[in-house]
């Protein structure tokens, strides 16, 4: 197996496994935010703001995996 093929397979595994954690994290986050809004609908604005910031943090980890996959495909 030459290095190019191995790099392609590795890129597939990187993005596949690297998307599991952030997906679970974002799901938990939005679920808790929905519970919070259901308990106190007046605080919906603040809860939504905090939820978006949390989603950005969790999604950044998935994007690190995406950058590694791009590096594997195009540079190695």
């Amino acid at each position: 197996m030459d290095p190019k093929t191995a790099a392609m397979i590795a890129a597939g595994f990187t993005m596949g496994i690297g998307a599991i954690g952030p997906a679970i994290g974002i799901g938990n986050l939005v679920g808790k935010a929905l519970e919070g809004i259901a308990r106190q609908p007046e605080a919906a604005g603040q809860i939504q703001t905090a939820m978006f910031i949390g989603i950005a943090f969790a999604e950044a980890i998935a994007l690190y995996a995406l950058v590694v996959a791009f590096l594997l495909i195009f540079v190695a």
């Binding site: 978006f52 910031i53 950005a56 999604e59 950044a60 994007l63 690190y64 995406l66």
Partner: protein, 245 residues
Amino acid sequence: MHVLEHFYLETIVPIEVFGIDISITNLTVSMFAAAALFLTLFILLALKPKVIPGKRQAVIEMLLTFIKRNLVYNMIGKKEGERWIPLIGGIFVFVLANNMIGLIPGTYTPTLNPIVPVTLALIVFFIVQVTNIRKHGIRGLLRTLAPAAVPSWMYVIVAPIEVISMIAKPFSLFVRLMANMLAGHTIILVLYGLILYFKSYYLAIPIVPFALIMNLFEIFVSAIQAYIFAVLSAMYIGEAVKPKH
């Protein structure tokens, strides 16, 4: 890989100054177009300000209230926040304009080239460090490496982690912005490339609506990423400005 040709830079007008290449590329043209578009939009909206705002002026006032209340005062506090409104507002509108200009077919998104988000993240990094030193001195900079609720023998372990997090925060700002824009546009280009790869136009019937939906999602992602960049820079500046133990 010729589908991803949209991501390459092409020089339009070569200018060279003392051996440094500052030619006009399609990135520069896109950035100028985004700036000109938003500049004319804002000037037209805020043309004749009255005390009781009409419909056009209300849009600009909504934008400014959003920047002041949600972005700056929430994160930095009312007293200190006054002087940071131009910077955070500028970062927000700049990133928003540069993200949105890529949605017009045929243009280049400036924020997906690594240079543009790296520059913004470096600006935020230097501003946070310099503000920290100006407000609390060099001792203050060392004090951020030692949070209050840690017993003194653990400083050996905690301090390197704090140094790494000090570098990782602007780095994550840069990677988040660049990778979000890159991923969105790559999906759309790969979808269109599928039609070219299989060399049949019947494939366009399912693919074009899907690419349309991805474009609409890209509008949402552009706005969210601009907001997240501005909010996180305001949060880091707010951490540096708050008085420490």
